[in-house]
Symmetry: D2
Subunit: 317 residues, 4 copies
């Protein structure tokens, strides 16, 4: 590169940097949210809060030997966001040689598998402009064959105390109304009613009742959703949770009451704080049985470079 | 139907039935293995052995709060059986409207997802001619859009005592030789060396050392495999286990020493006894740490009508 | 096999054969429609009618140098039969090394690609019970990794005289009514109005006007369709055509006026006569311009073992 | 935006623009190659050269009624670039209701369908940094659900005079050696030997003999390739052709003799001149029969927003 080009380059970079800083201030992101508290190289975020001590603490919650299945069935026709798809087919049977007449079936599946049905959002799923968790720049790690950083294979199993916050019950309804924004006061009130507290390293699941629309009124289910707002999410951040889940499709209220914001809770949790989301959970069994404390167990599929994971998380008590 | 046709039909059916019976005897399947012990309508097989009592029994094995990840990474280039495939791509980023600059990635995945990598074989995967678990006839439940019976969504979570049987260690090797058939005496001997016993409702994982070839020498890994033979499998059937897993690609020895048999252990476990298989497990961590007893936790993805499930099972101790 | 078993087997086979024959008569299929006129090993059916002479005959129809595109756009949201799907995504860009800054995109696509959108039905697509074209038995050639006979790769290019039969115009409407069965008299009448004749080795396209619903009213488009009935199809069989196409999704009337019949025209054309179908064609341009004779050109994608082919057939005049 | 931010933004953009211009000069791209000769809004490039006059000119080349199939079979195990994949499965048969025993098969296919096997590269496939054909900026049109500009659906059918240039024959070999760069003199010499000329609006296919490795020695086939270099490509640009095809996987020599260049011929043809590429063609039939002039017919599948198209182009003579 010539000296002149170098000078021009430096000038351009400096100017761009100034613009970026100005813009950051404009959208209220003046704070420096990276590197993460787990170091500049960390790719696991709040999964670091899973420790042997948390596992042992959780173990004590198993008193009945009951298992709740929190994952929904993946099937044709299930509600999906935008143009995502899910397809399953059973190919013709394979016939094996031999006198024992072995015959087997496979299944062939395609879809946005980390982002449909019951889904666990990884740290590479959603960011703020070009910036993702720990200040990783999208253009540097989002590659065609998989994310080269923040892939779901880095998360590891989550076994910890789980808390259900039954906001619907607290509000005295079966199902929160469409677009209802759950406030920090709602969370606090619901926890008081339940006499439950949230601790560092916990998983928090929000029961809105919206999940009762699943496969019953899919159009209504995906059109909007009640869910936590930014203030409620910030409360959970302050409590140092590992993951926030819900029985709706985005955990957070959709659309956001501020029409100029899209998915700000995702940004607050995933990008700024490394806290995971678990969407489309079947929380109705826990709510029905007033189970507010349990062991939450989920190990994301180790899909190298993926943004999320399908799965069937469970609650043990 | 005319009377003549009816007569012909009856004659034909009778003749076919005789042939089938004769053939069954010829391949040593004279015994009547269905309906299942859990009833003629059962679709869950040995998963019925998971009870609150087993969960509570398993709980006591958690003493250190340690978690072992038993699932391997799903990635391009991993060993696969036959012409199965796995593909993942990260589409262009989606940019959301709004001043908060939300940007997200999905992943798009295709493959025989229930039958690649770490895989849990369901009861609809493999049968004996037209007969599958509980006497279900393949042609009646194997439909293009999914199995209408024995789909993986019926299994439910498995949380129970897990036992690692380190056969490689018992034989004094790092890795059992190719095509080595693990005998019932090998299992018994390895259990004695470990001072471990197997009980009803347990999950049994066989460590062969073959898994150390994974992503190191894939061609060798898939060409053959050491694994349990029919007699060893029968021992596990007699012990009333829930699932048999291993660090090889088929649990059983491949190919079978009897060249006229293909996957007879699959038939014995899945079809005749409703016992699941878990293949391509990462058992090396347990073996390294001499962990022979643990809580095994796995909840198959609820893929409606699927023959198997990918996943990331864990061991807790 | 023992002698006794052999005897039983023979008896059973004989009895089954008798039943099959009786049943065949019962459903009006007493005629022996195989082996095909092109021999017992033929896999190409009416594509055998494409000869150099037909190509040269067709050539003379090119007088203006005009090209009509008969294929519709494959896109998200297009009408599809049953639970078939189509998905396309553009992965993140691949960046190549080197000072010339090469950057490229791929597309990743999944779906029932031979049977969605503009689709060419091959001879392995549809049969009568277990019998397909040329008496091939489904269970013998329908294998998981592709058809081992009658795959679309056998067809070869089709370049021949094409005839548009504008039945909508003949009936004085823009669009035939839902479930309208086109009769042989309709075909004859429409051809007379147009002063067009059909000859051996021709391709015949039926304009119903139903295609104007495409991406306008997809629900109506797929719910039913006007199209040819069995008698009209038989007329085209008698004329020894190569292919019958239309601007609806099944060429034939859907549902069939006889509620006990599903897709009998498919059976008559594909299975019994080796004549191809081309569905969801964009015939409106030809109809608008009163183009009743043209060169039809289509070369199915050579998808080994596939049942059909997507594509973009053209008409030249 | 505040006034200060606006000023900063303008300064940044100006500085960046200067850097880009300087860089462009540095890599020899000082010429202004856009807007295209077909206008700033054009998305079809050299397909604009297909006119009724060219169709009629081509028609005269049909003298024998012979059809050559130029597309290869798509099948498991075919050579593919990088980690692209192709999968086909035949699902279980669908059984239709009714007394006529309708039974049908679909196929389910996944892959980078525009960029595997015989493939037609569209104008959205490959660019120079952020710039594609007609100066379109990648980040503006490359969207997850498809390209919003330059998608393959814009191309339309190509029916024109085709010319085979048998460079292998000219060099006196069955197959050009690996990494052999075809020069402009090679093209000129081969054309002279054949007594063929290239004209505006023609399609030019280069026979290298490399295609004889297809499904014979796939590893060798994809490792490198003989093909045209930049100078030969420039000659074809000057001749105003529509498309350049070949029996190798990239049309151009791979790798480029200049180790600092990746796919420069793609950039010259697609981005700068709107000329298409057709890769992995079966040219051996034409070469064997000394067919140097013919009608080339190909209509890309109208895959909305796709970067390329699979297909089965044909040559008529």
């Amino acid at each position: 590169m010539s000296r002149r080009m170098k000078t021009l380059t430096i000038a351009a970079i400096a100017a761009v940097a100034l613009v970026l800083v100005a813009r950051s201030i404009a959208v209220g992101q003046s704070d420096r949210w990276y590197p993460s508290r787990w170091g500049a190289d960390d790719q696991r975020g709040a999964a670091n809060r899973i420790t042997p001590a948390k596992v042992l603490e959780a173990k004590a919650l198993i008193t009945k030997g009951a298992i709740y299945q929190l994952g929904r069935v993946y099937e044709a026709g299930m509600p999906m966001f935008g143009s995502r798809h899910y397809s399953i087919r059973i190919p013709q049977a394979f016939e094996m040689p031999g006198r024992n007449e072995g015959v087997f079936h496979d299944d062939i599946i395609s879809g946005e598998l980390g982002q449909i049905g019951t889904q666990f959002d990884g740290l590479g799923h959603l960011g703020i402009g070009d910036l993702f968790y720990n200040g990783n720049r999208r253009r540097e790690f989002a590659k065609p064959e998989g994310l080269t950083k923040l892939g779901i294979e880095n998360v590891g199993p989550i076994v910890t105390r789980g808390v259900l916050v039954d906001v619907a019950r607290f509000k005295g309804v079966e199902q929160l109304p469409p677009t209802y924004e759950i406030t920090a006061a709602d969370l606090t009130g619901a926890l008081q009613r339940q006499r439950t507290e949230i601790g560092a390293g916990d998983v928090v699941l929000i029961h809105t009742g919206w999940g009762s629309l699943w496969m019953k009124d899919n159009a209504k289910f995906v059109a909007t959703a009640p869910g936590i707002g930014v203030a409620a999410a910030q409360l959970l951040v302050n409590e140092e949770v590992v993951l926030v889940g819900s029985d709706n499709w985005g955990v957070e209220v959709m659309p956001n009451p501020d029409a100029e914001l899209s998915a700000p809770v995702h940004q607050l949790l995933l990008a700024r704080n490394g806290i995971y989301l678990h969407e489309n959970l079947a929380t109705e069994g826990l709510a029905r049985d007033n189970v507010y404390e349990f062991v939450y167990v989920f190990a994301p599929l180790r899909l190298k470079g993926a943004t999320g994971s399908p799965g069937n998380p469970i609650a043990l008590r």
